[in-house]
Amino acid sequence: MSSWDDEDTASAAATTDVELLKRAWRNEKAAPEILRFDSPLVSRAREQIQLLEETLEDFTDNGVDDLVVSLYQMDLDRALFLLRSYLRLRLQKIEKYMIHISKSDDLMSRLSLQEQRFAKSCTEIMEKHLEQSVLSKLPYGYDSVTRQSLSSTEDDMVPEPQLDTFVFCKTKSDVGAFQLDDIGEEIVDLVADDLYVLRYKSIKGLVENGRIDLI
């Protein structure tokens, strides 16, 4: 962990794709809801991983020193872990809030095409499971997955993420006076490179446009 922190401060200026992926991964890990999938970044990271793999193959073919090879291998392993873990985190978030995500166009648009298909089939599978194990045995009017009964006027049985949970975050640059609530009673001055514990809901916009990082 300590080596990562060193890297962070060193690479504030030169931001590599791996660094960006690490940031996306960290944000995704800390955010209660699913964030926008960075398609270009993921495909760039995959290209670089492939390049590293090819370099490694060349190395072994040409009999390069084992130590060098294992250093490259370590680098490759870390990048691969990051990518896999990032994709996995997102899938697990989709698993957790599948129904909530698949009924919202806004949330669906944050997913990659493959994730959208995954979310849809997950929801279908879950609905089928609940249907055949519980709902089909209940009386008419009480057999909806998303509503408690016919008298519910909106979906009241769908698990949703808690957006007003507190998150740790770090500002990248000065944001200035920032309003935390709707009425302007709580204002905080966000200065560069400082740590805060704030409600996710109020800084959601800053996370989305990359002005603040979750940690």
């Binding site: 370590m74 499971h129 194990s133 519980v134 045995k137 009964s149 049985m157 698990p159």
Partner: protein, 197 residues
């Protein structure tokens, strides 16, 4: 008391270690389902009674109305409990795919409702098709890598395996120094363990 049985199901969930499952409680589950239908029958008969008396069911507030409301709310409560029970179990079953792989061990299979077995199978297939669409295996590399090589002990006879450019014979109890990525698949299947001195 109405709803007590249903809450038993949730207590059962709650008393279970997170990530673990107990045997599907089909006795209580079926009783709660029966209760739901009894509530509904009572509810319907009270409504019918009010209709027969030519009362407006929207506005009348007599004892039958409140009786019906109690049956309606008890039914809702039971439904929420049943779904919560099923849904929470399904979440645990989902997590098995990541922790244990696509085939569940026998002792877990035994604890599942038939629909849960089907759920696991279908859900695993959804993950599998995502993985093949993305062309990247997400079931390996579950912990951050430290050293690219690890020392492992073979727990079952695996036989001749080709890893990269050479093949090795993995006989029971032998020790090997392997690439972590190669060893991980065997470790998750329980055929090897990391050997720590």
């Amino acid at each position: 008391m109405y709803g007590r049985r249903a809450s038993q199901l949730l207590k059962e969930l709650d008393s279970c270690e997170p990530g673990q499952l107990v045997v599907f409680n089909s006795d209580v589950f079926d009783q709660v389902v029966r209760e739901c239908n009894e509530h509904n029958a009572q509810f319907q008969s009270l409504i019918r009674k009010m209709v027969d008396q030519n009362l407006d069911i929207e506005t009348t507030r007599n004892e039958d109305h409140y009786g019906a409301a109690i049956h309606h709310l008890s039914l809702l409560r039971n439904k929420r409990c049943l779904i919560a029970y099923m849904y929470n179990r399904a979440e645990t079953i989902q997590s098995f795919r990541w922790k244990l792989g696509p085939v569940l061990p026998h002792e877990i299979q035994e604890k599942l409702h038939f629909s849960e077995k089907e759920y696991f199978k279908n859900h695993s297939a959804a993950i599998k098709s995502y993985i093949s669409e993305m062309d990247i295996d997400l079931t390996v590399d579950m912990v951050p890598p430290k050293d690219p090589y690890i020392q492992v002990r073979v727990l079952e006879d695996i036989g001749e395996v080709s890893l990269g450019d050479h093949s090795i014979s993995l006989t029971k109890n032998s020790l090997h120094f392997l690439r972590r990525t190669d060893a991980e698949q065997f470790i998750s299947q329980g055929l090897m363990e990391e050997f720590l001195e």
